[in-house]
Amino acid sequence: MTEEEIIEKTNRVFEESFEIEPGRLKADAHIFTDLGLDSLDIVDLVVALQSSFGVKIRTDEKVREIRTLGDVYSFIARVKNGEQD
């Protein structure tokens, strides 16, 4: 999966599951302060990402380190690569 595909698919999760306008979905957007998610919403985000990418995400330290949308892209890329290894 290419970086562009991961970005496009992740953004679609934010648009469809969270009704966030595409214009706000920038890599440096902070998911808490800019996009308005809180710690409870992260659980829904993980569920939506799992469903969209067909991967299993453990809500471990790596998830808790996510701050920006760019962090989400990188995290998904690592999970996808990890699965392929």
Binding site: S17, F18, E19, L37, D38, L40, D41, D44
Partner: protein, 250 residues
């Protein structure tokens, strides 16, 4: 200078009567609930106790009348036999007292500081007001669900803190998660004028008019299939538009 002097006397008058009310009414309310407890069950006692707290709110709100007045506008239903989740914007420390307009039995979701207020903090704890910061999410949801099941409504200030500049802050999602999981109707309560009467960071009150507009409930059918985040975004937009409309007519 003259206005400052008037404000000083107004505050002196208010706080003097407030302290007198605490000294006289709080023991009376306590005695009333304690006496009626002897011939009623726990559930009836709690209902009566929460009603007494509403009467306390009404008393506090009456003290500064007519210098501070309240306009409560009800749009839509107000069925006291149902439990609701009330969503309020938060601009002032007086907001907790403003809930006296609600005819429902309710508890408020608060941070830890209201529990630290002498006397009133004990009452808030006894009335089962919930300190959301000291509870795990699971414990909070279990207790809130139990209260809703008993017919007790729950009042949230989902911004979590008072607004500094009057603009509504982003919402935390606990209230909306509770609504989605329990199918409880959500009722937005829009409040303006409170930031003038007692601005954040001040204990001085000023004369003014506080408007409280209760919007029609969003029934469970209205948010079927929505995530808590999506629901909170929609409610935020509804309230933001309503607050703008209210402020343009002040």
């Amino acid at each position: 200078m003259f206005v400052s002097l008037l404000n000083f006397f107004f505050n002196f008058y208010f706080y003097l009567l407030f302290i007198l009310a605490v000294l006289v009414l709080i023991p009376l309310f306590t005695l009333y609930v304690a006496l009626t407890r002897t011939f009623s069950n726990h559930r009836s006692t709690m209902r009566r106790f929460r009603r007494a707290m509403v009467w306390w709110g009404k008393t506090v709100a009456f003290i500064p009348y007519p210098f501070i007045r309240f306009r409560y506008e009800l749009n839509g239903e107000n069925d006291t036999k149902k439990s609701y989740i009330f969503i309020c914007n938060h601009r002032s420390a007086v907001d907790a007292f403003l809930m006296k307009v609600l005819p429902h039995e309710f508890v408020e979701i608060v941070n830890d500081w209201p529990f630290k207020i002498p006397v009133l903090g004990i009452f808030a704890r006894f009335a089962a007001f919930l300190d959301i910061r000291s509870m795990s999410h699971e414990a909070f949801m279990a207790k809130a669900t139990e209260l809703l099941g008993q017919g007790v409504s729950i009042v949230f200030f989902p911004e979590g803190t008072r607004s500094v500049d009057g603009r509504m802050g982003s919402f935390h999602s606990a209230a909306f998660r509770l609504a989605v999981e329990t199918g409880t109707p959500l009722v937005p309560l829009c409040i303006t004028g409170n930031e003038i009467v007692m601005p954040k960071g001040s204990l001085f009150i000023k004369p003014g008019i506080i408007k409280i507009r209760q919007l029609p409930p969003l029934a469970a059918d209205d948010f079927t299939g929505l995530t808590p985040f999506t629901l909170k975004s929609r409610v935020w937009k509804i309230m933001e538009q309503e607050l703008s409309a209210m402020e343009s007519t002040l």
